[in-house]
């Protein structure tokens, strides 16, 4: 078991008073709180902070910890002195089951693995799993198989579980689906936890998602924009033809009804945004034609600067 330096975790001196400890905790908690923080290891960091604060903010626990600290050093293997009686504490703080083995050994059964959890009958924990979906998948009614692992609170072992679920129509990126009672099993008579499936759309090589609408950037030749054209564009359900009106502008949006993502009822639209693409290579004849146009045209693209 590794010795934990709770003072170091909170970045305070071992002589810091309760007020300084509280301030340090609050400042770091704001920074690493998993609901606020975008830091990669926020959750682990926050657990460490909570554990350190739990001990150092309580006069009795802190005194005991200080006494033990004389025996151990951070990062080193640590065994409590033989006469140390870990069982003397009754401890049931919120979230304490996530605390480290080190905490459990000093302050009794609250931390670590199954010891604490087995003691009380409690509702099983919720489990959240992410399901990546291709945009094409959201249009299908095929049930999808999802595999996840649930820890069994009685044995501490992870068990694999498979479920077949139908993705509800009109599901949005980031939306959660709740499967009642499919989370971690409970202890005793309490209810099992729930399973939350968080939908995450995989980025698409062609389409961007805006709510239930899709956006497609459509490259067109300058003469297609000028003269109009009938072109073929992709949709999630295959190719369709699209009329580019004559005298179109770059950035112009053309709406294709009903070719977006599914809604609860009906379907969103596809917005084709025109991008006028210039050629990379020019033949002699091409250049001659552009020169002809340049001589003849009165178009001034910077007219608005001259006002």
């Amino acid at each position: 078991m590794e010795f934990k330096d709770y003072y170091k975790v909170l970045g305070v001196d071992d002589s810091a008073d309760t007020k300084a400890i509280k301030t340090a905790y609050r400042r770091l908690a704001r920074k690493y709180h998993p609901d606020v923080s975008k830091e990669a290891d926020a959750e682990a960091k926050f657990k460490e902070l909570s554990e350190a604060y739990e001990v150092l903010s309580d006069k009795t626990k802190r005194a005991e910890y200080d006494q033990l600290k004389k025996y151990g050093q951070a990062g080193q293997s640590f065994t409590p002195p033989p006469d140390w009686n870990a069982g003397k504490h009754s401890f049931n703080a919120e979230g304490a089951e996530d605390f480290s083995d080190f905490f459990a050994n000093i302050f009794g059964g609250a931390g670590g693995h199954s010891q604490h959890r087995r003691r009380r009958a409690s509702r099983g924990r919720d489990i959240e799993v992410e399901m990546a979906l291709f945009l094409e998948d959201t249009l299908s009614d095929e049930p999808r198989t999802i595999e996840y692992s649930i820890p069994d609170p009685n044995t501490g072992q992870n068990k694999k579980k498979t479920l077949k679920i139908k993705i509800p129509k009109g599901v949005a990126d980031g939306e959660r689906i709740r499967l009642k009672g499919q989370g971690e099993p409970s202890i005793g008579d309490a209810a099992p936890g729930d399973l939350y499936i968080r939908i995450s759309f995989a980025p698409h090589p062609k389409f961007d998602v805006d709510g239930h609408n899709l956006i497609l950037i459509v490259p067109v030749a300058p003469w297609e924009a000028a003269l109009g054209a009938k072109i073929v564009i992709p949709t999630l359900e295959g190719k369709i033809s699209l009329n580019i009106p004559a005298k179109s502008q770059a950035g112009q949006k053309l709406r294709v009804k009903g070719k977006g993502l599914r809604k609860k009822s009906g379907q969103g639209d596809l917005f084709a945004t025109l991008k006028v693409q210039m050629p990379k290579d020019y033949s002699e004849q091409d250049l001659e034609l552009w020169q002809k146009l340049a001589k003849q045209s009165e178009f001034n693209p910077r007219a608005q600067w001259e006002k």
Binding site: R26, H33, L163, E175, I177, I217
Partner: protein, 101 residues
């Protein structure tokens, strides 16, 4: 196997699902942090997103020692930030598509 998608959830089930006390959930609703349908607690109907927001609210309240008004503000700002990040991601993706040859 029968799967219960549970889209509309009443007060009791919401408390069960989130581990919140009824009084805590009432605080959260009275601060407008989540807005269930229905005019009184017995009639309230919650959805899945509200469950997630309620859980986030209680975590912030407990872990950061915030009062409910501050929790409401924090959640508004977090949601605003997430919305802007999403919008930014869409705009970036589109800009890249417009710039590439």
């Amino acid at each position: 196997m029968q799967i219960d998608y549970s889209i509309s959830i009443d007060l009791t089930s919401t408390c069960e699902a989130t581990g919140l006390e009824t009084t805590e959930l009432i605080e959260i609703v009275s601060h407008g942090i989540i807005e269930p349908e229905g005019s009184c607690p017995e009639e309230w109907v919650f959805d899945i997103d509200m469950l997630a927001t309620a859980k986030r609210a209680i975590r912030l309240q407990r872990d950061l020692h915030l009062d409910w008004a501050a929790v409401g503000l924090a959640i508004d700002l977090i949601q605003e930030r997430d919305k802007l990040a999403d919008e930014n991601a869409i705009l970036r993706a589109q800009l890249q598509r417009l710039m590439q040859e």
